[in-house]
Structure formats: structure tokens, C-alpha cells
Subunit: 451 residues, 2 copies
């Protein structure tokens, strides 16, 4: 008998391997935060003595979900100014609220809310871009989630930085601080081509080369943004980035709803990765990305929720389902993006897009034990013919029973271990009150000025 830290015994296991296997009655063995074995339950019980035995006979084990794009702190703006046309939503709701309220404290509270919500729904790794990234990194570390914390880069002054040079310096400091961290790594996030000069991109290019850092950017998200950028620069944003030497395997293109065939080929040929945000793309009326075409071209496509202000869920299970359903309509093929491919997008491909696929993204010997466990015994997931299908097309976030990150049991039978939900909800309510009050005051001022 071998000793292990944790033995998880489950009815089904979807390891996301090359064969898209569905393993019945298998166990995952964890020691020192890593997966040391995945084997039939009967064998596991004979071979291993476990410090902790977790038995989930009606459940499926999957690699922890990777939310490859979010703005965690924006959870505090969830549902604030919904159903407005995009430009009014930004100009009348989000931007004024951000100008007035973004602070280290706001980012701390909003991020903590998002972390609790993501963990509860099976997310073990998230990629974030927002102001005060150092606070996001601290919160991820405290909550024991895996994170790619991207430093935002703007030419203009924000609540957090004076200018692009300041952003880059702060990003470099953050990079150094987390260089050897087990869970947190860093990146840079120029918001979009519309807010950065060529000089800033050039400086960013140098910085990223020095630090071996990746770049994530909102790219070709909406037709309006595309048209406006072409009018301003004479170039589509991807082409502008190409000329700036940014189109390579360190580039993560977020949204990428509107890519023509040549652009798809350009991304594929240069190893650009894409993050698909299906629900945000619908809600903001950006469109439906033809992700199966991207995949066919050889592009790695991960999955992201975007921020809760434009989704309004941080629910990667739901996002995975939306991705699978939309792909079928977009490709006019009911066989497009089948359940195992959707699960791969939400796990291994997300990890690959973030450059973490050697560490996470599948249940494989030697990888970190980042694992989610989902109950499939509920009415809506029964009867069960196929675990992958049931997971992708029926499972709700509330069916996530357990989550481990690097072997640490962060959600145990539905209960969060390191985050206080009641306190989080209470503080989010306080922010809602403040944000609502200043909006009311602002609207009153506008009205008075018009009189």
C-alpha cells in the first residue's frame, strides 16, 4: 500500500485526454498537490492509503475549469445599466461608475466576490485584467486560486496609474513579485488597440520580451470598434498589431468575434491564441464568433465569461453550454463542437491559451491537482446516458460539489472553505448602495444642467 494525501473516488471521470475518455468508477490520487495516479476505484482501494478519502459515487470529476478572460472586480457592476446599447452602457453607466468608484478597496471586494462565485461553480484558474492588479493577485493568493493576473495598459490616466509608462513599470514590479509563485503568474493587458499609441505598443513589446510575458487584448470584438479603428488608423487592429510585431504565440486575442479568412490564417500561422466569450458577445450584441472555423485552422480557443457587468454570470459551465450550442447554429451543423470538445475548450485549451497546459487542464499524472467535481444525480441531469453530454448540456453551477486547486480542498460538499459568503454579499451590497447613490446624484446634476 502506498500513502497518498487525498483519494477522490467518483462515478465518472472525464480526464480530457487525447481519446476524450469517459472513465467509469475511477479514482484520482493526489500527493503534494499533484495528481499521481488516475485508476479504477477497485485498484485504487488496493494500492493507496489516503490521508483524506472523498467519495462521490453520483458525480463526475473533471479538470478544474479555466476562465480565460474576466474582469473579476466588475462583479460589483453586475446588472448595472443592463439592456442599454453598447455605447450608452459604457458612457452612461460603466465608465462614470468606474471613474468614481474604482479603488484598491473596490477591487478587493469585487474580486473576492468573483473568486467565491467562480470557485463555487468549478473554476480553478482565471485570467483577469483590471485596475489594481496587485490587489487581484493578493486576493487570488489568499483564496488559493490559480490566476493569470494581467496588468492593464492605458495611455491615459486612470484611478490606478498615471500613463502607459506607469502601467508598464507597475506591471514589471508585479511580474517580479510573483515570479516564483506557485499559483499566480502575470501578463500584460493593453485594453484594446483604440486606447494605445504605437509608441506604447513598442514599449510593451520590449517589456514583454525582457520579462518573457504574454499579452492579452480585446481584439475585433465588435463591428463598430472595427470600423472606428479602420477609420482612425487605416488598419484593422490585427494588422496594426502585426506591423507592431505583436502577432505571435505570446498574443492572446480576447473575443475575436470578427476575423476574416486571412486573419484566421494569420492567427493560426503565428500561434495566436483566442478566448471565446460567447455570452458576453451576445449580450453586448457583438456577434457570434465562428469558433469551429478557428479550431479547424489550428488555433487554440479557450473560454471566458468576461466580467459580470456584461454577462452577467461568472459560470463557466453555462458558458461551455452556450459555446457548444452556438457553435452548432454558427456552423449550421448539429455535430459541431460536441460535448467533449466544449469541455476541452473550458479546460485544457484554456490552459494552453494561457500557457499553462504543462501544469493544468487535464487529469493527468504529474499535473497539479486542479479538479472540479459535479453531482449528476439531480433531476435535470437524469437519466444519464453519457457523462460528458450530461455535464455540458445540463449541469448547473449549483451541482458543483467539490473543488481542489493544487490538491487543496477549496470547496467541500458545496461549502467554500476560505471565503465568507455572507460577508462578501454584505460588502457587495454596500458598494451597490454607493454606486447607485452617486449615479442618482449625477443624473440629478445632468437634469439640473439641462434646465
Amino acid at each position: 500500500m502506498q500513502q497518498c494525501d487525498t483519494l477522490i473516488v467518483a462515478g465518472w471521470c472525464l480526464p480530457v485526454d487525447n481519446e476524450d475518455s469517459t472513465l467509469r468508477d475511477h479514482a484520482v490520487v493526489i500527493t503534494d498537490g499533484c495528481i499521481v495516479d488516475v485508476l479504477p476505484v477497485a485498484d485504487a482501494r488496493q494500492q493507496y492509503t489516503a490521508g483524506a478519502l472523498v467519495e462521490r459515487p453520483d458525480h463526475v470529476l473533471i479538470p478544474g475549469l479555466v476562465n480565460a478572460h474576466t474582469h473579476a472586480a466588475m462583479t460589483l457592476f453586475r446588472g448595472f445599466g443592463d439592456d442599454l446599447p453598447l455605447v450608452r452602457w459604457l458612457q452612461e453607466s460603466i465608465w462614470p461608475a468606474e471613474r468614481r468608484h474604482v479603488s484598491a478597496e473596490m477591487v478587493r471586494d469585487g474580486t473576492r466576490h468573483a473568486l467565491a462565485e467562480m470557485l463555487s461553480s468549478g473554476v480553478t484558474c482565471f485570467s483577469d485584467q483590471y485596475f489594481f492588479p496587485e490587489v487581484v493577485a493578493e486576493e487570488a493568493d489568499k483564496a488559493h486560486l490559480r490566476a493569470v493576473v494581467a496588468t492593464p495598459v492605458f495611455d491615459t490616466q486612470t484611478a490606478w496609474a498615471d500613463n502607459a509608462t506607469d502601467c508598464l513599470q507597475k506591471g514589471a514590479d508585479l511580474h517580479d513579485r510573483y515570479a516564483d509563485h506557485a499559483l499566480v503568474c502575470t501578463a500584460f493587458a493593453p485594453h484594446s488597440t483604440s486606447v494605445l499609441s504605437d509608441e506604447t505598443f513598442a514599449a510593451l513589446r520590449v517589456m514583454c520580451d525582457q520579462l518573457d510575458s504574454s499579452v492579452q487584448i480585446h481584439l475585433h470584438e465588435s463591428a463598430i470598434e472595427l470600423a472606428s479603428e479602420v477609420q482612425k488608423t487605416g488598419l484593422r487592429p490585427l494588422e496594426r498589431l502585426r506591423r507592431l510585431g505583436m502577432v505571435n504565440s505570446t498574443l492572446l486575442a480576447i473575443h475575436a468575434v470578427h476575423l476574416d479568412e486571412a486573419e484566421i490564417a494569420l492567427c493560426a500561422d503565428n500561434g495566436v491564441n483566442i478566448v471565446h466569450c460567447p455570452r458576453s458577445n451576445l449580450k453586448l450584441a457583438s456577434g457570434i464568433a465562428n469558433v469551429t472555423a478557428y479550431q479547424k485552422a489550428g488555433i487554440t480557443v479557450g473560454l471566458g465569461t468576461d466580467g459580470a457587468a456584461s454577462n452577467n454570470e461568472l459560470d463557466l459551465l453555462g458558458e461551455m453550454r452556450s459555446a457548444a450550442l452556438l457553435a452548432k447554429a454558427a456552423a449550421a451543423d448539429a455535430a459541431a463542437l460536441p460535448a467533449p470538445a466544449a469541455l476541452r475548450m473550458a479546460t485544457l485549451d484554456g490552459a494552453r491559451a494561457l500557457g499553462l497546459d504543462d501544469k493544468i487542464g487535464s487529469l493527468q499524472k504529474g499535473k497539479w491537482a486542479d479538479i472540479a467535481c459535479i453531482d449528476l444525480s439531480t433531476l435535470n441531469s437524469q437519466p444519464l446516458y453519457d457523462a460528458a453530454s450530461q455535464l455540458v448540456y445540463t449541469a448547473q453551477a449549483t451541482q458543483v460539489s467539490d473543488v481542489w486547486v493544487a490538491g487543496r480542498h477549496l470547496v467541500n460538499d458545496g461549502r467554500l472553505r476560505y471565503l465568507d459568503v455572507a460577508e462578501i454579499v454584505s460588502r457587495s451590497g454596500e458598494w451597490r448602495d454607493r454606486i447607485t447613490a452617486t449615479q442618482a446624484a449625477r443624473q440629478e446634476t445632468t437634469r439640473a444642467a439641462r434646465k
Copy 2:
């Protein structure tokens, strides 16, 4: 003080009135199964003494959700043959399984599963079309749900009827049996134009006129079906129905994904109602119906899940969210189908499409007390700026705490009162075993025959 049967006190109330009101701290007063008052909590406590007082301070009350199109019994085929192209899915999975397994017993067990699932997720009224409709009606009656039970009409023999004449006779019998029932009413459901002759439609027309019955039919669901029908008959199905005298306010067009401008106008001018099934339309790659265009033309559009074999959820909250999100992409307008309009589609407009809007669909004095109550205090629904937005864009089926149909408290604090979930899941598992076994045997036979 007046006596009432039930007083429900809630943090928010969305009555679905002409103003799309959001009422804060209101109560709904129920007596003899009907809503007798909707008023501020403080006033309610002064005016009414209640037999039962239900307090839900963190919750929103809405009219019970109306699932305007489903095949309840097909819950037993949930996830059976997913991700196949439409024709293979039908020919290799669903039709052989139906031929082998459809029976009164199967319809009873499958329907009961669906009823439990729909009730748990806030559905108080459903419109069903499947074999053995008399069994569906019995189960709805026993479970105290409101139902429109449509008798299927096929020219060919099925497990349930010999031919179209037999279908019509059985439908007429069912109609008579439930003529005065408080919860169950009936309709006819010719499956689609492809399976019925002109003669059958003529006989159906006479029968519906005699019984004052409505007709629901899968119409213009997929481009493939459209092309095939045009090839066969020289007519698009809607035009064929028009010539047969079926295009009027008793017609409920299910799916209606592909309507051109003239067809939209034809439906609007003749009072045809439509049921939008957004997730099923995605999953089967049928397309995205431009529902805001239908609504602008004046057509009433309800919302349906379709059967669990092609969705795979019977979750009208999720369907409502999908409808709202897809409409924005389809109309290229983030303001399209805002939250209150999506809620209206899932309640009052569904009721109107089914001809029940004088009885249900809004929280209004004199209507039946068909009500759902949803907890908005969960992490994913906080902070709360706007109850309608939070309901439509964040609420999960598991947040439904209570459901009343005609004043009867069918779901109380998350617990179903008249249905045994454990028994339902167990029986569904037995059907899964039988269906899987016969499919395996059939595949074996096919393989042997090929050798």
C-alpha cells in the same frame, strides 16, 4: 381585517403589468386559488389575516413560467444520441428508440420526471405534445400543474394510434373528458406538414371548428425541412397551411425559425402565435429566430424548451436568458429584448399564445394564483441593482424556492410536495437501462447484417 387563504410577502414583485413594474416589498393575497390583491407589505399586514403566511424577503415573485412547447415524456431520452447531425440523430437514435419503447407506462414515467423538473424550476403551465396524451393529462392533473395537452396527429401508425382518423377521434375524446377541468385543457398537434396529407388537415380543420380547439405544429423549424417540403409540394409549409384554411388565431407555430417578411406579415395579419425555442433551435442547428422582428410585426411570441432530447434542459429561466441574449445578437442591438420583455415572453405572452391570458400569465387581481418565487440573495445574483435584470440574466433554476398553481403550494422552500423525486430518478434510470440495452442489441444486429 379580511381573511385570506395565503399571504405571500416578498422583497420584490414583478407582476408583468403594462408598465413592467418592479414592486418593492409587496404581498400577493390568495383566496380560493385566485389572486385577490397585490399591495405593499405594510398595507397587507394591516388588511389581511392569512391562513398561511409565506415570507420571502430576499426573493422575487413572478407569474408562474409558461413552457409553451415541450414533449415531456422525452425526458427519458435526454442526452441519448447527442451531437449527431439532425437526420442521423432522428434516424439512428430517437425514432428507433421511440418505436421500441413508447408506451403508456413510458409516457407516464417520463412525463412525471418532466413535471417534477419543470415545477422545481418555476414552470406552472406547460403545453405538451406526445403520444398517449391521455396519460400526460392524468399526470398533470395528479401533480396539480396547469397543462395544455395536445393530441398528436400522424397519418401513419404509431405505438398509440392506427392512423389520422384514430388520432382525431382520440383527441376529441380527450377534449370532452377535460372540457370542464380547472387545470387541463386540450389541443391538437399535427407533428409537421411533412407527415400529414391535405385530407387529414381538412378533417383536422373541421374537428377543431367543432370543438373550438387550437392547433399547434412544428413549422419552418429547419432550412432542410423547408427545402424538402418545397420540393415535395411546391409550397412552403405556411403557404400550404394558408391554402388549407389553417392560418388564423387558433394556429400556434412552434419554432418558426425561418420566416420571410411576407410570412411574418401573414402571421401577424391572421393572429398566428409563435413559440420560440431558442436552445433547441441552436442544439439542432436549426438557426436563430429573429423574434424581435416577429414582435415588432405584432405577433405574440411565447417561449418553450422543446423536449429534453433536444435541449437538454426543461429550464425556462435558462431559456428566457438565452432568448434575451440571442435576440441582441440577432438584432445587432444590445437593447433588444430587454429583461422585462424576456420575462413577459416567458409568462404573459406564453399564456396569450396558448389562449390562457385571461386566466394566468400575470400577477393581477382575478387571475389564478400561478406564481413562482425566486431567491436573489445568492452570490451569482448579487449585488442587486434591478430585480428583472437579475432574474433574467443570473437566476438559476435552483434558486426557485416556491411555486403555487391555482393557489396550491406545490414547491415549498425548494421541496416538491406531490412528487417523489427519488422514485422518479430511479424509474428513469430503469428506462435508460432498457433503452441502452435495445440500442446495443440493434447495433449488434446491424453489424452482423453488414458482415
